[in-house]
C-alpha cells in the first residue's frame, strides 16, 4: 500500500428510498495502520467494512486510493463445490498470483491455521470453524495491501485466533493497512492505531478511555551493538521500552506482536542479540501505555 485509502463524506443506503445506513463518513487509512471499528449490532459496521473493502459502491461521497484489497466475511459458506486447496488456488489467482504460487501459499496458510488435514475435503463437509479458516486463508494468501476483517475471529479455535492476530501484526509490519470489527474488547487490545465508533449512522473517533483494556503481553530482553539504537520496527509495536542496564533493553510487547518485534531485532543491521523472551512479571495494569 503506497498511498492512503480515503473515504470522503461517504454515505450508503439500500434501495432508492431506503433509510441511510451510513452518512457523512470520513476515514483515512494509512499504510501500516491498524484500525478498529466498534459499534452496537445493526449500526452499520458491516456496511462500512463493505464500503472500505470496495464490495459496495457508496451511494454518495467518494472513495479514493483503492489498494489491493482482501476481505474476510463474518460467516463463510461451505456451499462451494470445491476443496479448500482448490478454492484457495482459484482465489489466489484471482488475487493476482500465478497458479503455482497460489497452490503453494494455499498449502502454507492452511498449515498455519491447522487446517492442512482438510485441504482435500469437499468444502460442503467442513465444520463452521474450518470454513472460516479457509476464508481467512483466502484473504491472507496474496499479501493484500488492505485487509478488511468483519468479525473474522468468530468461530475460530483458540490457536487459530492467536495465529490470525499474529498474521495481522505481520501485515501491518509489512506496510499493509488492516481494518477490523470484533466484539471481543481484548482482541488486539492496545495495538490499534485508531479506534472508530459507528454511532447513529456516522463514524466518530473514539475518545480515549480512562483505562484501555490490555491484552496478553510478552517481555523481550535484547542487547544491541555498542551505542546502537533500537530498530524503529521493534519499538513501534511495543507497549513500553526500558533500559535497565546500558545497552540492554526490556521491551513489553503485545503477545500478538512478539514475532514481529523479534524479526525486527534479528534482521536489524547489525543484528541485535535476544537475551530472553518471557511473560511479564508485573501485572499488566501497572504498565503505563502511551
Amino acid at each position: 500500500m503506497h498511498r492512503d485509502l480515503e473515504l470522503a463524506r461517504v454515505g450508503r443506503r439500500y434501495g432508492i428510498r431506503g433509510p441511510w445506513v451510513l452518512r457523512g463518513v470520513d476515514l483515512t487509512l494509512t499504510p501500516g495502520s491498524l484500525t478498529r471499528v466498534e459499534g452496537a449490532n445493526g449500526t452499520g459496521k458491516s456496511t462500512l467494512l463493505r464500503l472500505v473493502a470496495g464490495i459496495d459502491t457508496p451511494t454518495e461521497g467518494r472513495i479514493t486510493g483503492r489498494p489491493r484489497t482482501a476481505y474476510v466475511p463474518e460467516r463463510f459458506p461451505s456451499a462451494l463445490p470445491f476443496t479448500p486447496s482448490g478454492y484457495l488456488t482459484h482465489l489466489g489467482t484471482v488475487h493476482g498470483l500465478s497458479r503455482r504460487s497460489a497452490a503453494a501459499r494455499a498449502a502454507d496458510w492452511l498449515e498455519r491455521f491447522g487446517a492442512a488435514a482438510y485441504a482435500a475435503t469437499p468444502m460442503a463437509q467442513l465444520s463452521k470453524g474450518t470454513s472460516q479458516k479457509v476464508a481467512v486463508a483466502q484473504a491472507l494468501l496474496a499479501d493484500p495491501e488492505l485487509l478488511v476483517l468483519d468479525e473474522a475471529w468468530t468461530g475460530l479455535d483458540a490457536e487459530a485466533r492467536a495465529e490470525l492476530e499474529r498474521a495481522v501484526a505481520e501485515r501491518t509490519a509489512a506496510g499493509g493497512a488492516v481494518v477490523f470489527v470484533d466484539h471481543d474488547p481484548r482482541r488486539l487490545a492496545g495495538v490499534p492505531d485508531a479506534v472508530h465508533q459507528v454511532v447513529a449512522g456516522t463514524l466518530e473517533p473514539r475518545t480515549a478511555q480512562a483505562a484501555p483494556p490490555v491484552g496478553p503481553l510478552t517481555v523481550v530482553t535484547a542487547r544491541g551493538p555498542a551505542g546502537g539504537r533500537l530498530p524503529a520496527d521493534a519499538t513501534r509495536p511495543s507497549a513500553s521500552a526500558a533500559e535497565p542496564t546500558p545497552g540492554t533493553y526490556r521491551l513489553t510487547v503485545p503477545a500478538s506482536h512478539s514475532d514481529v518485534v523479534l524479526r525486527a531485532l534479528l534482521t536489524a543491521q547489525p543484528p541485535w542479540h535476544v537475551v530472553s523472551v518471557s511473560p511479564p512479571d508485573v501485572p499488566p495494569d501497572e504498565k503505563d501505555r502511551p
Binding site: R50, A53, G54, I55, D56, T57, T59, R68, T69, A70, Y71, V72, P73, R75, F76, P77, A79, L80, P81, F82, G86, H90, L91, T93, V94, H95, G96, A135, Q138, A139, A142, V148
Partner: protein, 223 residues
C-alpha cells in the same frame, strides 16, 4: 480477468447446476429436430430454443455463488469485474452449447429446402446457423443480465420477468433474435441462405450494453 473466468467456469461446471438447462435444451431439440428434416428450418428451431436457455445459464452463474464468497472476490477485483466474469462465463457456455447443437443439426438434417427442390450446401447452412445461434445466445444472455441480480433480486420477480423477456425478444419484430431465426425459416422456404452478420452484430451491441449496466450496478445494489 482470466483468473475470474476460470473460477466462474469451475464454479458452474462443478456445481452441476448447468445440467437442467442443458437437458431441457436437449429435450427441445429431441422433440423439434429429426434427422432428414430441412436443415435451415431445424437450425432456426435450435437457435430459437437457445435464447431462454442462455438466459437461464446467466441466472445460474450470477446467483450460484454464495454471497460471502462473492464478497471475497468483489473485494479482490471489484464488484463490476466479478459480475462481468459471471455474465461472460454464462455467455460462453451458451455459445458452446449452441455450437454443438449447430454441428449436430447440420450433420443429421436433409440439405435441401422445405419442398426438397433446391439444394442447401451444408457448410453455408452451418455458417448461417452459427450466426443465428450466436445472435440468440447473445440476446438471451442480455435478457438474463437485465432480469437477474443486481437488477431484479427476488426470484419471484426475476424468473417471470426473465421468461417473459425471453419470449418477447424472440417474437417481437425488430429484435435481432427474431430477425436471425426468421431469416433461417424463410430461407428454408426460398432456398436463399441468410449469412448476414447484422443480427448477431446488433445482438452483440445490445448485450454489451446490458452487461455494462448490470456490472456497473452490481456494487450499488448489493447485497
Amino acid at each position: 480477468m482470466t483468473a475470474l473466468l476460470r473460477y466462474q467456469t469451475a464454479l458452474l461446471l462443478r456445481s452441476q447446476r448447468w445440467l437442467p438447462p442443458v437437458i431441457l435444451y436437449a429435450v427441445f431439440l429431441g422433440v423439434g429436430v429429426q434427422s432428414g428434416q430441412p436443415v435451415l428450418d431445424s437450425l432456426g428451431y435450435a437457435a430459437a430454443a437457445l435464447l431462454p436457455v442462455a438466459a437461464w445459464l446467466v441466472r445460474i452463474c450470477v446467483t450460484g455463488e454464495p454471497p460471502a464468497a462473492r464478497a471475497c472476490v468483489a473485494a479482490a477485483r471489484g464488484p463490476a469485474r466479478a459480475h462481468l466474469a459471471a455474465l461472460l462465463t454464462a455467455l460462453f457456455a451458451a455459445a458452446l452449447l449452441g455450437t454443438a447443437a449447430t454441428l449436430v443439426v447440420t450433420v443429421i438434417s436433409r440439405h435441401a429446402t422445405n419442398d426438397h427442390r433446391l439444394p442447401v450446401p451444408p457448410l453455408r447452412a452451418g455458417a448461417a446457423g452459427l450466426l443465428a445461434i450466436l445472435a440468440c445466445a447473445l440476446l438471451g444472455s442480455a435478457v438474463g443480465a437485465l432480469t437477474n441480480r443486481p437488477l431484479l433480486r427476488s426470484p419471484g420477480r426475476a424468473v417471470p420477468a426473465m421468461l417473459l423477456a425471453a419470449l418477447l425478444s424472440m417474437v417481437v419484430a425488430g429484435s435481432p433474435a427474431h430477425a436471425a431465426v426468421s431469416g433461417l425459416v424463410t430461407g428454408s422456404e426460398s432456398g436463399r441462405i441468410p449469412v448476414s452478420p447484422l443480427p448477431a452484430a446488433a445482438a452483440a451491441l445490445l448485450t454489451a450494453a446490458a452487461f455494462a449496466l448490470a456490472s456497473a450496478l452490481s456494487g450499488r445494489r448489493s447485497p
